[in-house]
Symmetry: C2
């Protein structure tokens, strides 16, 4: 980690403050803290209606969705050229957004963005920031320490059979990646029993618990794995999958044996809390080495 | 349709009675009736715990799961060489099955069957019947009239945009077919919002309704399509997808614009009832021409 007088810190100072545009959840704070520890000045831009982190001790400017003109002015006023977008911003109803003038002029583009899948939407967002002269960075670029490490995390190791399930899941996600469906699935005894789409990981795990309850899944408890990978070709500066305590709790309720995610490809904000939760539930957490061709 | 004195009927008589092994739902009865209309003698073998059709007027023998020896004897006693397996047999708990001797000797094979996906399971079942000297037929072979016809069914036609959604879904199912996940998905505005796996079509549609209710899907009502195709390489003598009134009702509750399924690749037992339900709900029902290479 860089001290205040390191060459990295000097380079940071030259690049100005880092803007962290914060959606919901705890990841934005973890990214901001990691960047600050690395000696970087940070300004938070919590998104109204979504951000829910404590803001004490942080310079911050609340921003509403749909006011890109205002956001641009505030970013420039705070000397931010580098921007990180992090946290949940669930899809919003158009009629709930109050657009500013700049955003209104962009509306045809916004509507075309909303017509495609998530990838399409996020790539358009990135382009809009870059055309306005900002540099969009991934959370993994400003805070690599919040990424999943490779191999076993915690006390429980996956068995041979579980590693086989993980491989089935990894292969399937590689195939489905270009379809822009989702980043996760659940495999039991080599069989894909759930595929994540609009519902997200938490609701997919709740579904497995329910399918067990109604007898639609009859495999014994502690069977199967949640597998999550970033989609191939996905812009990792945006929409990086994440793994937190809530996912571990959901996997435990779903009766799974563990969770496998791509090392370096998934955000784990609080590793200590994650390991504690997994050990308590008796689940494995496993970081898969990414295939060489998708490394960046 | 063949009359009692047609050459087809004579050929039927030569081949002996057709055994319809009946799982749950109304499709077994539709198949049996169609075969009988075509002049074939039919014996029903309702599976205990699953079959729920009225049996009056049909020669029938109840069969429990796990008693393949008994089933073989009964099939031979009734002169059945041709066998159709049709209807729902949800996966059962091994400990709930009372195996007969023949089945017990097959247990290692049965366990290996249960470890793979549905395709693997069903292909193994087909092989077991064939090794015992029976001929496994698809419902579409003995009753082609219960298959989905091509083009629009009912009063509502899909729009250009909806046909675009359908194409996105068809392409995705072609890609995911070899992964043996499921036969259906839901597309809205070119975006796959749900992918069917162990939960089945009905629960997937219920999920869409729920995601709308909690605001996770914000697209307007009457948007999107359920798309169902038989998996590429799937043995159509087994596990043919089906479309019934319940699916139409589920699609209506999910706020979809309609349903597209592969013409000739999906069973629709009661077309009149299906059209009535779709017209009442204002949904389109559309039979997609199968790609030439998967025709059989």
């Amino acid at each position: 980690m860089a001290s205040r007088t390191s060459p990295e810190a000097a380079a940071h100072a030259e690049r100005g403050a880092l803007a962290v545009i914060c959606g919901g959840g705890t990841f934005p704070l973890a990214v901001a803290e990691a960047a600050r520890r690395a000696g970087r000045e940070v300004v938070l831009f919590p998104v109204r209606g979504f951000a829910d982190i404590p803001l004490e001790g942080w310079p911050h400017v609340w921003v509403p969705i749909g006011q890109f003109g205002r956001l641009k002015r505030e970013l420039r006023r705070h000397g931010c050229r580098d921007v990180v977008l992090i946290g949940n911003v669930l899809r919003v109803r158009i009629r709930d957004i109050r657009f500013d003038w700049t955003t209104l002029t962009m509306l045809p583009r916004v509507f075309s963005m909303l017509r495609g899948g998530d990838d399409h939407l996020l790539k358009s967002v990135a382009r809009i920031f870059e055309e306005a002269g900002f540099r969009l960075l991934g959370a993994h670029e400003v805070a690599p320490e919040i990424l999943m490490p490779p191999g076993q995390l915690g006390a429980v190791a996956p068995t041979e059979g579980e590693l086989g399930d993980i491989e089935v899941g990894r292969h399937a996600l590689t195939v489905t990646g270009p379809l822009d469906i989702g980043q996760g699935l659940v495999v039991m005894s080599r069989h894909i029993v759930a595929m994540e789409a609009a519902e997200g990981t938490d609701l997919m795990l709740a579904r497995i618990a329910e399918l067990r309850r109604i007898g639609r899944i009859t495999r014994p408890a502690r069977c199967g794995a949640l597998v999550k990978l970033p989609k191939a070709g996905q812009d990792r500066r945006l929409d990086m999958p994440s793994l937190g305590v809530r996912t571990v709790e959901g996997a435990a309720r779903a009766g799974l044996a563990g969770i496998a995610v791509e090392a370096g490809g998934v955000i784990v904000a609080d590793v200590a809390a994650l390991v504690r939760a997994a050990d308590e539930a008796g689940l494995f957490i496993y970081g898969l080495e990414p295939p060489t061709e998708t490394k960046r």
